[in-house]
Amino acid sequence: MSKTKIIEAENLTKVYKGKVKAVDKISFYVEEGEIYGFLGPNGAGKTTTIKMLNTLASITEGKATVDGKDVSKYPAAVRDVIGVVPQELTADDELKGIENLLLSARLHHVPSGEARKRAKDLLALVDLEGSAQRRVKTYSGGMRRRLQLAIGLIHTPKILFLDEPTLGLDIQTRTKMWEYMGRLNRDSGLTIFMTTHYLEEADGLCNRVAIIDHGVIKVSGSPSELKQRVGGDVLTMELTQGPDITAFLKGLPDVSDVARNDQVYRIKLPRAERALPAIVEGVTRQGLEIKEISFTKPTLDEVFLDVTGKSMRDEASGESDSLWQNVLNERMR
C-alpha cells in the first residue's frame, strides 16, 4: 500500500517583484514519515521553496498542499501542523533555553503542564538539559542549533521543515544533529523536509533527494538510485599535454562515457578496477604522459555534476554575504 503524500507541489513557481524567478515550475511530493531533501547550491531556490510551503512566501504560479491543505487558501491550517527550523539562529539571546521552548509552546497553544514535560524531553533529546537555565547568549553555535531543533518540535508537528539545519557547524556537532534527526524520524515517524548544500547530509539522512539548481529540479530519487544513474565509478585523469583522446577513450571496453575539460578527462566506468589497466596502457602507448589519475565511487556530487555540468563543492564556496550570514558568523563564535 502506498504511503500518504503529505506534501505535494505542482508546477510551483516563485517570481520575486515580477522579475527574479527563484523557483521555476517544480513538482514533487513527500510521503508521510520520510526524510526528503532538497540539495543544491546557494541561490538554487531551496529556501524559497520552503518559504512557499510554510506560508512565508506567496506562490506565484502552481499549487502546493501540506497535510492535504492548500497552502495559498488555508495558510492558518498549514501553520497548525508544521514546525519550522530556519537557517538563521532565531532563539532569543536574552532568554534562557527553557524560556525559548516554553514561549514557542505557548505560541503553539500547548497547555503549560504539557509544554514543561515536552520541553524536558526535548532538552534531553538534544543533550541540553544541563544548559536549560542558561541564557542563550552563553550557548555555542552547536548548542543554539540543537535548541532550535527542539523549539521546532515543542508542539509535536506532523511535518518539520529544516532549512540548512547544520549550516556552519563543525563535523562532530553536525553528526550529532543527523543522529537527532534520524532518531526523530525513526521513533516518531516525523516527516522531515530539509534543504542542504552538504552532500553527505543528503546522502546519509534522506530517503529521497531532489537536486535543484537555478530554481529547477534536475533529478530526484533515493541517493542510491541517483548514484547508480551516474553509471558506476568515475575515473579522473589529467594529462600533461597532447591531442584530444576522447574518441579513443570512448572506444575502450567498459567505458560508458567520457567528458573532457582541457587536459582533464572524466571517464565513467561500470567497474574501474577492470578498465583501469587498459586505459593506462592505451594512453601510454600513444606517447602521452599521465600527470594525475584518481578514481571515485559515485557521490551525490557526481550526480550534481552529471545533471548540472558543475560541481556542488565549487558552488558551495561562493557563500552569500547577507546580514544574517554575518550575524550567524557572529553567533557561531
Binding site: A57, E88, L89, T90, L103, S104
Partner: protein, 288 residues
C-alpha cells in the same frame, strides 16, 4: 489572541529588563531633561535682577516670577512643575518612535519569520509590538515623575493632586503612547532597515515635540506654529496632564471643559491610529 499578545509582550519586556544598557539611557534622558534642561532653560532665569544698576528687590522679583508662572505657565509653582508633563510626553514619543528598532531587528535576525509560521493571529504580533513599547514608556514615565519630585526645586504638586489625578495623568500619557505606538509599530513592520526607520522617525518625532507645548507654552509661538501645536496630540496630552499636575482636580480648577476636550481628542487619536496602524501592519505581514 490575548494570550499570544501577552506572551510576546512578556518576551520583549524580559529582554528589556535583563539588558540594563537598553533601560538606563531612557532614565538618564529623563533625568537630564528635568534636572539640567529644567534648570538651565527655566525662562524666569532670564528676568534681569537689576535695572539701571539698581538691584530689583527679591520680593519684587519673586512676584514677577509668580506672575509669569500664573499667566503663562498655567499656574505652575516653578518651571520644572510645568516641564514635567512635557518631558514625560517627550519620553513617550521617543520610546514609541525608536521602539520599532526591536521589530526591525527581529525581522532581520529571522525571529519574525518564526512568528509568521506560528499559528498565531497577525494582530497579536502587531499589538504585542504596541504594548511592549507602551509598557516600557510607562515605566520610564513613572521614573521621570519620581525624578521630577526628587530634584531640588522640582515638581510641586498641589494638595488636590491625589490618586485619581495621578492615574488620570498616566492614563493620558498612555493614550498618547498607544496612538503613537500604533503608528511606529506599523512603520517598523513596513520598513525593513534600521537606517530607514531611524531617518523617518527623526523626521516625525522632532517636529512632533518642537511643534507642541511640551517644553514651552504655545502662547509664545508664532501664529502658524500655534495652529499646528493646537492639533498636535502631544500638545493635547501635555495640556490635559498639566491641568491635573499643576491644578489637581479639573472641576475644582474650572478647567473641566478643556480637560474633557483634550481627552476626547486623544481617544479619537487612539481609535484612528489603531485602525490605520493595524491595517498597515497586516499588509506588511502578508507573505513575500
Amino acid at each position: 489572541m490575548i494570550d499570544e499578545t501577552l506572551a510576546l509582550t512578556n518576551r520583549a519586556l524580559k529582554k528589556w529588563i535583563r539588558n540594563p544598557a537598553s533601560v538606563l539611557p531612557g532614565l538618564f534622558t529623563a533625568a537630564f531633561y528635568i534636572a539640567l534642561f529644567g534648570n538651565s532653560v527655566n525662562p524666569t532665569n532670564f528676568i534681569p535682577t537689576s535695572s539701571n544698576g539698581v538691584a530689583i528687590p527679591a520680593a519684587t522679583l519673586a512676584a514677577i516670577k509668580a506672575g509669569i508662572f500664573a499667566t503663562t505657565f498655567g499656574g505652575a509653582a516653578n518651571y520644572i512643575t510645568y516641564l514635567t508633563a512635557g518631558v514625560i510626553c517627550l519620553i513617550v514619543v521617543f520610546n514609541m518612535s525608536f521602539g520599532g528598532i526591536d521589530i526591525v531587528l527581529d525581522r532581520q535576525l529571522g525571529y519574525f519569520n518564526t512568528l509568521l509560521t506560528s499559528p498565531i493571529p497577525r494582530a497579536s504580533i502587531f499589538f504585542s509590538g504596541v504594548l511592549q513599547n507602551l509598557a516600557k514608556a510607562m515605566l520610564l514615565a513613572l521614573l521621570t515623575f519620581v525624578v521630577a519630585l526628587l530634584v531640588p526645586d522640582g515638581l510641586k504638586l498641589t494638595s488636590s493632586f491625589g490618586p485619581f489625578e495621578f492615574l488620570g495623568a498616566f492614563a493620558v500619557f498612555a493614550m498618547l503612547g498607544f496612538g503613537l505606538s500604533c503608528v511606529f509599530t506599523a512603520l517598523a513592520l513596513i520598513l525593513r532597515s534600521i537606517d530607514s526607520l531611524v531617518a523617518i522617525v527623526n523626521f516625525i518625532n522632532l517636529p512632533l515635540i518642537f511643534m507642541s507645548n511640551a517644553l514651552f507654552p504655545s502662547t509664545s509661538f508664532p501664529s502658524w506654529l500655534k495652529a499646528i501645536s493646537g492639533v498636535n496630540p502631544v500638545s493635547k496630552a501635555c495640556e490635559a496632564t498639566r491641568i491635573l499636575i499643576i491644578n489637581g482636580n479639573p472641576s475644582a480648577s474650572g478647567q473641566l471643559g478643556t480637560f474633557t476636550g483634550d481627552v476626547l481628542y486623544l481617544v479619537g487619536f487612539v481609535v484612528v491610529m489603531t485602525l490605520l496602524g493595524y491595517l498597515a501592519a497586516t499588509r506588511a505581514m502578508r507573505p513575500e
